[in-house]
Symmetry: C2
Subunit: 452 residues, 2 copies
Amino acid sequence: MFDIIVIGGGPGGYLAAERAGARGMSVLLIEQSRLGGVCLNEGCIPTKTLIHAAKSYHHAQHSAHIGVTADGVKFDLPTAMKWKKKTVDTLVRGVGYQMKRHHVTVVEGTGTLTDRNTVRVGDETYQGKNIIIATGSSAAVLPVPGAKPGEHPAKGPRVMTSREILDLQELPEKLVVVGGGVIGMEFASLFDALGVKVEVIEMLDRIVPVMDQEIGKLLSKSLSNIDIHVGARVQAITKEGVAYQDAAEEKRIAPAEVVLLAVGRRPNTSGIGLEAAGVDADRTGIRVNEQMRTNVPGIYAVGDVNGKSLLAHSAYRMAEVAVNSIAGEADRMRYKAVPWVVYTMPEVSGCGLTEEAARESGREIRVAKLPMRANGRFIAENPAGSPGLCKVIADAKSDVLLGVHMLGAVNSEMIYGVAAMIESELRVREVREIIFPHPSVSEIIRDTVWEL
Amino acid sequence: MFDIIVIGGGPGGYLAAERAGARGMSVLLIEQSRLGGVCLNEGCIPTKTLIHAAKSYHHAQHSAHIGVTADGVKFDLPTAMKWKKKTVDTLVRGVGYQMKRHHVTVVEGTGTLTDRNTVRVGDETYQGKNIIIATGSSAAVLPVPGAKPGEHPAKGPRVMTSREILDLQELPEKLVVVGGGVIGMEFASLFDALGVKVEVIEMLDRIVPVMDQEIGKLLSKSLSNIDIHVGARVQAITKEGVAYQDAAEEKRIAPAEVVLLAVGRRPNTSGIGLEAAGVDADRTGIRVNEQMRTNVPGIYAVGDVNGKSLLAHSAYRMAEVAVNSIAGEADRMRYKAVPWVVYTMPEVSGCGLTEEAARESGREIRVAKLPMRANGRFIAENPAGSPGLCKVIADAKSDVLLGVHMLGAVNSEMIYGVAAMIESELRVREVREIIFPHPSVSEIIRDTVWEL
């Protein structure tokens, strides 16, 4: 009888195992493929590795204005893919090391609940006082003809999800991305930077709809090389390319060598014995409360599978909340200070409420924004005309900071500080008294807060 | 009669003028040279512009492992210098714009106090209810033969301070930096990255003594291309180079084409009429209290000239404290959450107590550290073997976060979040509950905090 059985070795699962192991609990972790899950093996990490390479390629070509020139700048995709593999392998080993360090038993296979304390893996069964389900999510299917990942009609486009496209060994001339959400836009921006002609087809009226609208518009504008079609419905993928109806209801074809399907992700709730254990789930995922408890005592669900926040770092925190709850410590998952990043070029990040969400909440708000070009280091490090914006939203009555949204520079490394401020419910007055290092792009946050 | 007269248009001075103007006060700003002061015109900003160019040069040469190759990568110093000038000019105009926006009267000239309410500039005199002295600091002099900036003995080295070296139009083959503090090490690293052979001569037994010792050692090791001599006393600058006595008291010569003097900075307290107004000062600067008040009612001193914290961002905050104090708002300058960055390659930053300072304070502490290679994005974005460390210090009894110190990646953009946490006196438990975006190097802070 283990103290905890964790089903799934992605961020939610492995961190739950690590934290529980560190507390001295006996833990079994079940993973059907490689430790690290989608995030590490075919998501966050491999994409960021390639995006880094693409940025280097871009800078090597475009630094003449600062005195750096080169002839014949070349990009070799197979070498970048090797670097990606090396990075992923290193990190998978790192997760394995953490499991050993915290005395977690790792079993390879597919875990299936047979009752509230039992998980079957192949012919073996394991007993756990508590069970944490962390089976993640999978790429959603696009229900139109020809849209099957792995398809490659003769002379037609190759159809892929984010998984397959991460194993490309040759750049296509033309990529069509179906879906203008976070994943779709990151790949669009990556391939654009590598010189591939990219079109994006998005059903909604704007890309990355979770984003503050103004920032989203600026992102669209910044990715000027990419043809973005919003309000467009894909009808089929044919030999000619992606057939869609545009916002004016005209039928169009986007010719493609490769089609990337990035139409969202669905929680992996089937085939894991939820019914046998009596765990409630619907199409949005397993139902959990703020402690990550399901309706069945002793069974928890963390990460994408509960559908609450499909982000690796949300999964981390959920894992900690679940383990704390099992250990009898008061804790609860809060979503108001979950930062997010879109690793396009330029990067976009945010934390807290968007301007629209803040207004819709009925609060009286104050909003301020500054172009990144108001910032010294940004001007020093970016060519004239580089886009950039920082927007801050605060509650006009309580003076509490509600949200910060940024486009431009390395804001992916800056946004955690905003999460700290929002989680701590800092007032505008308090944020103004924080000392930011000069010169840094991070100062734009302070300066924008002073504009409120 | 102005509400406030500000003497000096550097970061402390111009921000004081801006904040006071924004409050509707009538403000006169006196600057003898260009708005922005040393920081903008011959310090922080120009150096960071060149460091950015040097990084681009480095990456263009060293990205083959990620698939990016180029032939004949070249660096052209005059082009980089033009970019630097353009950057500085843009920002100086930006400061001018802020002065106009906030209805600040700007006068060019040297301001001299004649009594506690009067400042003379040339033939004019101005009256102020309050006066803020923000005259900054100057490069300290090295009292040895030949060490006069501007010297260029026939066939001998050219002797410069940070001011003159920022106008070089040709790279020397060999640079000797006298002084291994922040300024000295930034220039050493910059010129090293540009292919110049660099030696550093430091009197103390280690470089950048304000730094956590372990991080300082790692920095020395990381700059392996630079010959760093600690415990070494410069005795003269001669035709042959820099004559010094090494730590073993052996006499040596460091041959040099250019010698950079970076032996600290001294507050600019002379020639500004401190005696006439009766303002107390000693060699460390004008004496001020936590409200930036001098001994004379109505006279304040902010920035380098008070010697409390020679950092532009400290000056900013001091300016705000002074203006708030003048406006009758309770405020006080706090130094415990002042972040700092050394823009070497790799970057180093810190905020709060070093491990040594925390121990010396008599506290019971907990210390944790992680190599940056424990971080996914760091591994994805840095070649194998790249140095990196994050160190966290906490109070064992109160659980309060005391300090965070980092080497590697873009920690200059991350450290402000630590300042926010330390300023807010967050407990370790609270920091652990903050959600950091994945994947980001910033996660190393959270992971290190979990190691406490």
